[in-house]
Symmetry: C2
Subunit: 361 residues, 2 copies
């Protein structure tokens, strides 16, 4: 891959959500033109040409095809793979699109994961939950799951979930990890070069990230990220989510892309996760992953008006989505602080403005 | 001014160069739509709709009109003023578009400026240079001057400048300040609220900024910036350039807009000068102006290919101009460091890559 004069390097991004939008915000600094496979009213289309019908021609013309989200249409994804332009590669997407494959891969390769059983059909999932997990566990649909979708936390009340009996497809039945806290790491790999931002503490509610902050120094996570990206021969940014219990880390899941818990890098780090991703995909030298400050992020969930009062505590990223829905990520606020407690204080203030009665999720 | 739902707040920017482009990069995080008065091949048009002919309608529709450069067409500028939408206001632009007005204003208001005389016509300029400055001084055209254009540094060899005799219009004849170094400050004002980033050390060659770095703490500059923006009843970001001699500061000039010496704030500060400008214009609360790190910037002047080798030392901002010309600003590289000497070392390395034989200016 080689840059030629005057912005002739072209990226296609599959998906026009906020992750694509921020990739373009950060990547526009480079001699790269972005085009996006998305409907015209999606966030990324404010900054780049969007297309759908003529995707074949666009994929032919682009130098690199990436995705901002793994649940994207099969046709352009497969075409990009067939053209040899898909980065990160299909092996990572495939694991991600079927939860049971991801989990089995991680376990097979020796990474720490919760105890789980893969089953076919909802009936079998409920049986395994009863017989092997004493009716306490999570049943997760293998496909289409993100932000807590398709996950059922069951604590003894399995009878409420009888609707699952009719369901087909793969399921994962998993122990509920009684973690002390959740955390994640954002890593980037290009060739044999690997770098990772310091991990963060994450606070999720009903499967959705509400806020996170850091740095939280943890060598085990760095080691896991390095091994995993290497085993997958991965190129680009990856986010890996963990449960932490008694100082030990267990992988919850990974995302083969830029990640919600890395948004703080837009303000708290010299080079953001989005810029790193764009650099890695173009074969450009990676940037430093050190943080410049203690920092954090709060998601704006299901709120239709930009919360401008939060500006006194941080920087607003408003995605410009045309419609607000419950649980929908409408924007986020990045926070910088002198230490973790300063950051946490600002997050608390922002939470009070956004969700005076707590998040409605 | 008030934001309504879904990006209905509209900014018109007069001028589509790199300053407008970065305003949009940073301002897109807010619920604001940007439109730009510029030719379609200019940098800002990669990120926003550009227009020219239908400027009347656009100005009517925009909530705010700003300019990224003071030498913009009169018609849209005057219209924006007449509509009461021009921010920063016309008083600042007018001073800036006529150097002698700027200088006389500053002197009249008691700000420290070099010794100068305003004259009409090149003949008179040369006479004053001879009689009052012993043929050592700068003759500056009042209009159209920026990046060293229209400035003649004369040190005894006045006979080489006889071509000026025929020239009409206002000129400033000014002493050559034998400064120790140059510096500048980026300040922002909204209502009675004033904030300033720490100043930087600047290195100019032939009137063009080559690189700068900081922070350089100087209270005198902060005081001047606060007074000047207050006297002008100014809204938005302003850059003020200084000569520093024996610890004393003298104003060289100011720019009623975001400024080349503030580009480092994109990476070295929590909130960039571009975001501050966008905030101030919308009446939004200003952000902090503290820096997160020692940092600096190197301009890419007259180089047609993106210098990707510099990525190991900093972050590239490539403006995507269609044509490279001598002295033209094609991009810049922001640098972060552990201390000033680390920053300076990186700048030196970048200078070596960009200009192995020194800048060709």
């Amino acid at each position: 891959m080689r840059f030629s004069r005057h912005n002739s390097f072209r990226y296609c991004i599959l998906g026009g959500g906020q992750l694509g939008w921020m990739m373009i915000l950060e990547g526009s600094k480079f001699p790269i033109t972005f085009e996006v496979y998305a409907e015209k009213d999606e966030p990324a289309c404010k900054l780049a040409q969007c297309f759908k019908e003529d995707f074949k021609q666009r994929m032919e013309e682009c130098d690199v095809v990436t995705y901002e989200f793994e649940h994207v249409d099969d046709e352009p994804l497969n075409l990009a793979r067939d053209l040899g332009k898909l980065v990160p590669g299909m092996n990572a997407v495939e694991l991600k699109r079927a939860r049971h494959l991801e989990k089995e891969y991680l376990r097979r390769e020796g990474f720490p994961v919760p105890r789980f059983v893969t089953v076919e059909g909802g009936e079998e999932a409920l049986r395994v939950l009863r017989d092997e997990f004493h009716n306490v566990g999570v049943i997760k649909r293998s496909e289409g799951g993100y932000d807590g979708k398709g996950q059922y936390f069951i604590r003894g009340n399995a009878e409420n979930y009888n609707f699952l009996r009719e369901e087909k497809g793969y399921f994962v039945v998993e122990e509920i990890v009684d973690f002390d806290f959740e955390a994640s790491i954002i890593a980037v790999r290009r060739g044999n070069e690997f770098r990772a931002y310091p991990p963060t503490f994450n606070y999720n509610e009903k499967g959705i990230l509400v806020y996170n902050y850091g740095p939280f120094w943890n060598n085990e996570m760095v080691k896991i990220a390095e091994e995993l990206t290497k085993k997958l021969n991965y190129t680009g940014v990856m986010g890996i989510e963990f449960f932490v219990k008694d100082g030990k880390v267990i992988i919850n899941e990974f995302a083969p892309r830029v990640h919600n818990t890395g948004h703080y890098t837009l303000d708290g780090a010299e080079v953001s996760q989005f810029e790193q991703h764009v650099r890695a995909l173009a074969g450009l030298e990676l940037g430093p992953t050190n943080v410049l400050s203690f920092s954090g992020m709060v998601n704006i969930l299901g709120i239709g008006e930009p919360p401008l009062d939060t500006l006194r505590y941080g920087t607003l990223y408003w995605y410009g989505k045309t419609e607000s829905r419950k649980r929908r990520k409408m924007g986020h606020i990045n926070v910088i602080g002198n230490d973790l407690s300063d950051v946490k204080g600002k997050i608390e203030n922002i939470m009070g403005i956004l969700y005076p009665n707590g998040p409605d999720l």
